[in-house]
C-alpha cells in the first residue's frame, strides 16, 4: 500500500469551493479545541504572576511526595507495559497459531475490558479482595489492605488494558507473511523455534508499540489510582486531588505537564522505532494462512493461558453482576433488583446525557475525521502536515492532561464553555479523533486516486466525488469509527472528570462518586447497565451495517 496524494491544490478555479471553505474551518476547529487547550495548560505550568517562570514546576518537583508519585507512575507503567505485553503476546499467539477449541469465546472475553469503564476492574477487585472483600475478608478472614497500592493497581490496569495490546498483536500475528513461518519449518525449525527466530523478531516494532500503548494507558488511568491507590500516589490521581481537592491550578497544571512529557516522548520514540524497523515486504505477495500448531503440549498450554485469563476476566464481570444483584455483596447475599431500580432512577439523567452526548460526539468525530483524512490523503492543502500532527496529539497525551487542558482553557472569557454540553461533546470527540482519522486515511489510501480522476473526468466536482464516490467506499470505516468514539466516550473517566457539571452528569463520574460514598451495589448496577449498553451497540450496529470496529487494524 502506497500513500498517494492527488497532485492538485485545493482551490481550483470554479471547482471545490465548498471543500476549500471547509478546510480553514477544520483547521480552526483543531487549533481551537486541541492546540489551544494544550498550550493553555503548558502556559499555566510555566507562568506565575503573569511572568514566565518555572516556579510552579520547581515547586512541584521539590516536594518529595510528588517525586514519589513520578517514580510510582513510571514503575507502575513499566510493570503494566511488560506484564501486559507478555500476556497479550501469549494470547495472540495462541489465538492465531495454535489449534484450540473455544477461540470465539476466548476472543470475546478478552475484549470485554476494552468496552468497559476501567473503574469496573477496581470495583470488582474491591468486592473480591478489598477490606471487606468476599475472598479476603469473608472466606479467608483476613484484615488486609494489600489490594490498595502497587499490586492492586498492577492487577486492575493489566486486566483492563492488556486487551488493547492483544488486539494490536492479534492483527500483527495475522498479518505476518505465512510463507516465512512455513519456510522456517521446512528448514528444520519446530514451532517454538519459528516463533523465537522468525515471528517475534519480525514483530519487534509491534511489541514495542504494545508496550508504549500500555504505558500510555497506565499513565492516563485515573479511576483505578483514585479507588485503589491507597498510599501509592501516582501523577494522575495527584492532578485530580490538586485540582478538585485543593483547587491549586498551577500545581495541577505543573503535574500534568510532568505527566505529559514522558508520555509524549515514548509515543514519538515508538513511532520513530516503527518507521525505522518496519520491514518492507520482500518479494511477491505472501500468504496469510498460517500453519497451526497441533502439538498436544502446546495446545494444552494455549488453553491454560487463554482459558485462565478468560476465567479471571469472567470472574470480574460475574462479581460486578453479583454485586449489582445482591443486597450487600458478600454479607447479605439476598437477591434484589433494588440497585438497578436505584441506578435507573437516581442516575437516569446521567445515562440519558451520556448516551446523547456520546452519539453527538461520534457524529462530530466522524465528520471531522473524514474531512481531515480526505485533506491529508487526497489533497496538497497548505499545512495539512501540521493539521494531521495536531489532530493526532490525543494519542500521545494522557486523557487526564487533555481533560485538564479543556477545563482550564474554557473556564473563562472569551470562551466560557464550562458547564455546557458542548465542551463535553468536544472533549469526547477530540479524544477519539485520531482513530477516526487513521481509519479514514487507511481506507482512502487503499482507493487508487484514479477513482477521483475518473470521477472528475466524467464531470463531477470535488464535492460530488467525495460525496458520491469516496464516502460510500469509506462508509464502513466511518461507521466503525463512530462506534469506537461512542464506546470510548461513554466509558472514559479521565477525559471528562474535569469538565462535568451539575447540568450535565455522566455515568463514569457518577460510578466513581457512588463508590466513594460506598454505594457499591448501585455502582455495580450502573456499571452493568453501561457494559450491556455498549455491548448492544457494538454487536447490534454492525449486524445491520458492517463489521466490528475492533476487528480492523
Amino acid at each position: 500500500m502506497t500513500a498517494v496524494a492527488v497532485d492538485r491544490g485545493l482551490a481550483e478555479p470554479g471547482r471545490g469551493w465548498l471543500l476549500a471553505c471547509l478546510y480553514p474551518a477544520v483547521v480552526a476547529l483543531v487549533a481551537l479545541f486541541l492546540a489551544y487547550p494544550i498550550v493553555e495548560l503548558l502556559a499555566r505550568a510555566v507562568f506565575a504572576d503573569d511572568r514566565l517562570s518555572f516556579a510552579p514546576l520547581a515547586r512541584v518537583l521539590g516536594e518529595p511526595y510528588n517525586r514519589q508519585a513520578i517514580y510510582n507512575t513510571l514503575v507502575l507503567g513499566l510493570t503494566v507495559a511488560v506484564l501486559g505485553t507478555i500476556l497479550a503476546t501469549l494470547y495472540a499467539y495462541a489465538m492465531t497459531r495454535v489449534e484450540m477449541p473455544g477461540k470465539r469465546v476466548w476472543h470475546f472475553l478478552a475484549l470485554l475490558p476494552t468496552i468497559s469503564p476501567p473503574i469496573l476492574m477496581a470495583l470488582s477487585l474491591i468486592l473480591l479482595y478489598g477490606r471487606r472483600g468476599l475472598v479476603t475478608h469473608e472466606l479467608l478472614g483476613l484484615q488486609t489492605t494489600i489490594l490498595y497500592g502497587y499490586w492492586g493497581l498492577v492487577a486492575a490496569q493489566t486486566l483492563s488494558y492488556f486487551p488493547f495490546a492483544y488486539l494490536l498483536l492479534l492483527n500483527l500475528f495475522r498479518g505476518l507473511d505465512a510463507s516465512l513461518e512455513e519456510a522456517a519449518g521446512t528448514m528444520g525449525a519446530h514451532p517454538g523455534k519459528v516463533l523465537t527466530t522468525v515471528s517475534l523478531p519480525l514483530l519487534v516494532p509491534g511489541l514495542a508499540g504494545a508496550c508504549v500503548l500500555l504505558f500510555g494507558y497506565s499513565f492516563a488511568d485515573l479511576g483505578n489510582p483514585l479507588l485503589l491507590g491507597g498510599d501509592f500516589p501516582v501523577l494522575s490521581s495527584q492532578i485530580y486531588l490538586a485540582i478538585i481537592g485543593q483547587y491549586d491550578i498551577p500545581r495541577g497544571a505543573a503535574l500534568a505537564v510532568i505527566l505529559l512529557v514522558p508520555a509524549a516522548l515514548l509515543f514519538f520514540f515508538q513511532k520513530h522505532l516503527a518507521a525505522r524497523t518496519a520491514h518492507a515486504s520482500v518479494g511477491g505477495r505472501g500468504s496469510v494462512r498460517h500453519p497451526q500448531v497441533r502439538h498436544p503440549g502446546a495446545r494444552v498450554a494455549a488453553l491454560i493461558v487463554c482459558g485462565g485469563v478468560s476465567l479471571v476476566i469472567l470472574m470480574q464481570y460475574a462479581t460486578v453482576l453479583a454485586g449489582a444483584t445482591t443486597r450487600l455483596f458478600g454479607i447479605n447475599n439476598e437477591l434484589t433488583l433494588r440497585h438497578f431500580t436505584a441506578a435507573l432512577t437516581s442516575s437516569r439523567n446521567a445515562l440519558v446525557d451520556t448516551i446523547g452526548l456520546g452519539v453527538a460526539a461520534s457524529i462530530v468525530s466522524a465528520v471531522v475525521g473524514v474531512l481531515i483524512a480526505y485533506f491529508v490523503a487526497r489533497t496538497r492543502a497548505f499545512g495539512r502536515g501540521a493539521l494531521d500532527f495536531t489532530a493526532n496529539l490525543p494519542l500521545a497525551i494522557p486523557g487526564t492532561v487533555i481533560g485538564l487542558g479543556f477545563a482550564l482553557a474554557f473556564n473563562h472569557r472569551p470562551l466560557l464553555l464550562t458547564g455546557t454540553a458542548f465542551i463535553i461533546v468536544i472533549a469526547f470527540s477530540m479524544r477519539a479523533l485520531p482513530y477516526a482519522i487513521r481509519s479514514g486515511i487507511a481506507t482512502l489510501q487503499q482507493l487508487h486516486p484514479s477513482l477521483d480522476e475518473a470521477s472528475t473526468n466524467l464531470g463531477a466536482t470535488r464535492e460530488q466525488t467525495l460525496w458520491r464516490v469516496l464516502l460510500p467506499l469509506v462508509r464502513p470505516a466511518i461507521i466503525a469509527g463512530m462506534i469506537f468514539t461512542f464506546t470510548r466516550s461513554v466509558t472514559t473517566l479521565s477525559a471528562v472528570i474535569f469538565v462535568v457539571s451539575p447540568h450535565w452528569s455522566l455515568v463514569t463520574p457518577t460510578i466513581l462518586s457512588q463508590m466513594d460514598r460506598g454505594d457499591l451495589g448501585e455502582a455495580a448496577a450502573l456499571s452493568v447497565i453501561l457494559v450491556v449498553l455498549v455491548l448492544a451497540v457494538i454487536h447490534g450496529v454492525p449486524r445491520f451495517i458492517g463489521r466490528d470496529w475492533r476487528e480492523q487494524a
Binding site: 522456517a184 521446512t186 528448514m187 511477491g284
Partner: protein
C-alpha cells in the same frame, strides 16, 4: 557442494479436501499417484486450482493429506511434521526472512539443526557461490532484486542438502527474459547436484524446458504423466493437448488399421496416421498448427480460404476455413510476409507423422 545420494519418491493415492464456509467441502486433490526416480526432475503442470500446489505443500509437510502415503526411499514420511523432513522448498514469493542478511538466511537451516559454526563457515559460501551470490552475503533481502532474491531462496534450500527439492512457481515473479535465463541455470544446477526435484507451474514453456517428466493435472487429478515430447505429441486428452500448446481438433473416422498405422478420414480426405492400439471408429484428429504447411492452391489436394492472419515476428499465424472447420496454421516468417492475404485460396499439406488420434467419445470438443 557435493551431490547427495538421490532419493526415490513415491506418492500413492494422495487425497486432500478443503472445508468451505457453509459446510461444503472442495476436493483439492483426488487419488494422486506418482513415482519419481532418483535425481529426476518432475513438473506438476496445470491451471490454477488444479491441486498442484496442494500436492507440493503436502510433500513439504505444510498440509496433512486426508488419505494416501508419501514414501521417500521407501520410508513413509506422510505423518512427519515439516521440520523433521529435510525437504527444501523454494517459495513463489521466496519467503526470505527480511530481518536477516543473505548469509543469515542461508545459514538458518544449519544453525537450527545445530550443524556448528564450522559448517556454517564452509557451506554457506559454497551454496551462495553455486547460485552466483557469494558477493552479496551481507545484504538484506529488501536490498536485492527479484532475480537475486530468487537465487538466495534457492541457495537457502540447497544448503541443507535436502532429500527432495520442491519449487512452487519460483519464476513467476520474474520478468520474461530473466525467467528464461534463471530456468536454464536451475536446470543445470539440479542436474549437477542430482537432487530429486518436484516443480510446480502453470507455464507449459517452463515445464517443457525444465523437466525430465511432466505430470499434467486437472481438477485435482493427473491427466497424463510423460516426457515433454510425449505430452506434446501424444497427449492423452484434449485438455492436455490444449494446455501444452495450440491444437486443431478435427472430428474424423477411422476406416482401417494395420500395424502401427491407421487410416483416418478427416476434412473429406484420407490420411495414414500413426496409431499404437486399435482406435475406435470415431476419433478426434489432433493437428498442431506447425504441422500444417501452406502450399499453392492448385498443387494441393486439400484447400481452404484464409480468413485472417496475425504477424508474430518470428512466425505468422493463419486462420484458414475449410468447409465448416476453422484451422490454425503457423509458419516461420522468413521474409515472406504478404505472400498470402485474407480471402486468398491456399493449399494445405499435413505432416501426417505429427497427427495424433483421440477417441471422440471421451473428448467431446469442449
Amino acid at each position: 557442494m557435493d551431490a547427495t545420494a538421490a532419493k526415490t519418491l513415491e506418492i500413492i493415492g494422495l487425497s486432500k479436501t478443503y472445508p468451505m464456509p457453509g459446510g461444503r467441502s472442495v476436493p483439492a486433490v483426488r487419488d494422486f499417484t506418482l513415482d519419481v526416480a532418483p535425481g529426476e526432475f518432475v513438473t506438476l503442470l496445470g491451471p490454477s486450482g488444479c491441486g498442484k500446489t496442494t500436492v507440493l505443500r503436502t510433500l513439504a509437510g505444510l498440509e496433512a493429506p486426508d488419505a494416501g502415503e508419501i514414501l521417500l526411499d521407501g520410508r513413509s514420511i506422510t505423518r512427519l511434521p515439516a521440520h523433521r523432513r529435510r525437504i527444501g522448498l523454494v517459495f513463489q514469493n521466496y519467503a526470505l526472512f527480511p530481518h536477516m542478511t543473505v548469509f543469515e538466511n542461508v545459514a538458518y537451516s544449519l544453525r537450527i539443526r545445530k550443524a556448528g559454526e564450522d559448517a556454517v563457515r564452509d557451506e554457506v559460501p559454497a551454496a551462495l557461490k553455486a547460485v552466483g551470490m557469494e558477493a552479496l552475503g551481507v545484504r538484506l533481502p529488501g536490498q536485492l532484486s527479484g532475480g537475486q532474491q530468487q537465487r538466495v531462496a534457492l541457495a537457502r534450500a540447497l544448503v541443507m542438502k535436502p532429500d527432495l527439492l520442491l519449487f512452487d512457481e519460483p519464476l513467476s515473479n520474474l520478468d520474461a527474459k530473466l525467467r528464461v535465463q534463471v530456468r536454464g541455470e536451475l536446470r543445470r544446477l539440479q542436474k549437477r547436484l542430482g537432487t530429486t526435484a518436484i516443480y510446480v507451474t502453470h507455464d507449459q514453456d517452463e515445464a517443457m524446458s525444465l523437466s525430465d517428466r511432466i505430470a499434467v493435472m486437472n481438477a485435482g487429478q493427473v491427466e497424463q504423466v510423460g516426457m515433454p515430447h510425449e505430452i506434446y505429441m501424444r497427449p492423452a486428452s484434449l485438455f492436455v493437448a490444449g494446455f501444452v500448446g495450440q491444437v486443431n481438433a478435427l472430428p474424423g473416422r477411422v476406416t482401417g488399421h494395420a500395424g502401427r498405422e491407421a487410416t483416418v478420414e478427416v476434412l473429406g480426405r484420407s490420411f495414414k496416421v500413426p496409431a499404437d492400439a486399435s482406435p475406435p471408429p470415431d476419433v478426434l484428429v489432433l493437428v498442431r498448427p506447425e504441422a500444417i504447411r501452406l502450399a499453392d492452391a492448385s498443387a494441393s489436394a486439400l484447400g481452404g480460404v484464409v480468413e485472417d492472419l496475425e504477424y508474430r515476428g518470428d512466425r505468422i499465424e493463419y486462420r484458414i476455413r475449410i468447409g465448416d472447420a476453422l484451422l490454425v496454421a503457423v509458419e516461420p516468417a522468413l521474409g515472406r510476409r504478404g505472400r498470402v492475404a485474407p480471402g486468398d485460396h491456399v493449399g494445405l499439406e499435413l505432416f501426417t507423422d505429427a497427427l495424433h488420434l483421440l477417441p471422440a467419445a471421451k473428448n467431446a470438443a469442449a
